[in-house]
């Protein structure tokens, strides 16, 4: 089994957000607002995920008058598989920890911490 490099919490958050709306397209600025991250954090991650084939990109087709079409993002099939692998790896890691030792859960967007 190959060892998967653990992505940054911001990457996990973006994958998480895209996975929640797997069938819908998302906008860069909306992801920034949703996750409370700066554009300077979100865009490099989106670029990297797109380069790796985890995120599909497209341009908006129906554009309201007065503004240019926006760039759209959604999880690709490879991205969805990557998220599943991350979740499996996370679950495995969590099973090795003591209960209540702190666990970052991907998918439900929650951090189950020691306080819980």
């Amino acid at each position: 089994m190959t060892r998967m490099r653990r992505p940054s919490p911001q990457t996990v958050a973006i994958l998480d957000a895209l996975a929640e709306n797997a069938s819908d397209w998302s906008h860069g600025y909306d992801l920034c607002r949703l996750l409370g991250l700066k554009a300077g954090t979100v865009y490099p991650i989106l670029i990297r995920l797109a380069d790796r084939g985890y995120v599909e990109t497209a341009w908006e087709q129906e554009v309201p008058q007065g503004r240019p079409p926006r760039h759209l993002y959604r999880l690709s099939a490879a991205g969805a598989e990557h998220v599943r692998e991350l979740r499996r790896a996370e679950a495995e890691r969590a099973s090795w920890r003591l209960p209540g030792a702190g666990r970052r859960a991907i998918g439900d967007g929650a951090i189950a911490g020691a306080q819980s």
């Binding site: 700066k38 554009a39 300077g40 865009y43 926006r70 760039h71």
Partner: protein
Amino acid sequence: MSTGPVTRRTIWVAAAAVLVLGPLALLIPAALGIRSVMRTGPVTRRTIWVAAAAVLVVLGAWTLLISAALGISVGPWRPTEVLVGALLFGWPHALAAATAVIAIARAASGADGPARLLALVSSGRRGHRDEWGAAMRAELASITGPQRERLRFAVSCAPIALRRGWGWSPWIVAVACGTLFAALTVATSRLSLHGNRSGSLLGVLFGPPQITLLLVGFVAAWKGCSMRNGLEHAVPALIAILVGVLATAIPEGALWAREAGVFLLDGDYPSTALTPGEGAHDALRATLTWGLLLWLPWPVLGAAAGARLSPRTTPFPDPAP
């Protein structure tokens, strides 16, 4: 310049080097013809006035610099000689300043400050490489909230748009240029030291770096069809040449002081005995002033000319409203 007085010979050699380079750069104003500049981008009369002001400021600075330098080392010079000197040495800087003003004005098109900032930093990309810049610009256009929010988005995106697309080629070119000039400095120094001992650094600092930077900027801009691509190659090349020359000229300057008792720059005899430390210091000072100062405009001029003469390509379609 060596710590001894500035000799007439030094001035004439420098002037001749600049004059030799002049014909090469005559291509640039011709290529940039102001009317065509105004036709092809959002360059207004105001931009032309700002460019003209930049030319005057740069030439004024050179006039002050030359009169100060000559006043200190040679004594009173006639104003006409100072002005001729400022034109001879300063015209590449003046032309580069005007070119930079026009290029920035052309690239920074947008409805407001944040839009202009993002347009500027993401300009000069072609084809797929510009897609992410266009994505950020389109996203900014969709932000209709407070100006502060638009500015925050643009400022946050700026470093990414600026960095996006850097490949290995600028670094490869830079390493090649740095190595070449380090070798050239050592080779000419040793040949001259074992020959007529007339100094060798002047021949390395004047001419070869300017031509190299002009060519690197030109070829990269022409090949990449953008001034930005030219600058991305020529600026690292300038830094690498500086490092290469400094790394070799400083120990060679000390060696010349020890072996020959004269300056590496031009073989001048000092007024008092020259220590290796003074020889090294003179090589450092000459490279930073007469080298770096005169090299600065050439990446801009080469990149501008290359972009201007490159085959036109369509940038990534920036979706117009």
